[in-house]
Symmetry: C2
Subunit: 153 residues, 2 copies
């Protein structure tokens, strides 16, 4: 049984999950506080996708915490396969959401120069997108660790 | 030595590479033929990313063809590791490009309704994005096969 950095039932794994959850929640919070976000489909999709990531990461963080407290191993093939599929689906959706929002944000702020004249909170959009990318990056680390674990269990 | 569907040096692998290359080239062609694409950073990024994918997939298609004709095996650990890293980097960039372009296209055609009044060729943007997604999907299949091969070699 391999003990990789960030594997489930380890402190590093728990830290990764909490980080994903917090950054995704921060992205939702910042986006919701920016007025006019609902005019762009990409921003609504960002909120939905980050919501899914919060639920997924929070669930796995609870599972990690339980495993740490009861000193149980979570590394059985069925559980790890479930984690791999869930992680890959969630991280693909998160990357898609972060990129589509980034495309729209760059269009607003650089290409069309709409921020000032249309009174759009572009800096908030940028912060939300940055949080979404950080959250995706942490999830991608978890996904790669899970994929490597799947070969080891 | 595993012989998975789509592994390098097999006809299915060659077909996947040719498909990736053709759809990426088609995405570039359609996007270049749509006037006004250079106003959006996301569309320029799509062209750059699809260009990278054409080069990568074309190179690997040539390598597959060579391996098929000379009946050599391409499955040594160093080559497969190189393919895995290249495939994952290219597919992440392609997904990012396809999603950011999709975000901008949806913004133009649905959210802002700019297609008619600004005389934008939105249907061409949509076709280019669709081709980019198909190309990314084929590349994702190759990436997963390579990752599985890496565990096997």
């Amino acid at each position: 049984m391999k003990k990789l950095f960030g594997s489930p039932g380890k402190v590093s794994g728990l830290a990764l999950r909490i980080g994903q959850c917090c950054f995704a929640a921060a992205a939702i919070g910042v986006m919701l506080s920016a007025h006019g976000f609902f005019n762009a489909t990409a921003f609504c999709y960002l909120i939905a996708s980050m919501g899914l990531q919060v639920v997924w990461s929070f669930g796995l963080a609870c599972l990690d915490l339980h495993a740490l407290r009861s000193k149980r191993s979570l590394q059985n093939p069925i559980l790890v396969s479930l984690f791999v599929v869930g992680d890959w689906v969630t991280s693909t959706l998160s990357l898609a959401a972060a990129c589509s929002s980034a495309g729209v944000t760059v269009l607003y702020s650089k290409d069309l120069n709409y921020c000032r004249p249309m009174n759009l909170p572009c800096s908030k959009f940028q912060i939300a997108v940055a949080f979404a990318f950080i959250s995706w990056f942490l999830l991608a680390v978890s996904s790669i660790v899970m994929f490597r674990l799947l070969g080891a269990v």
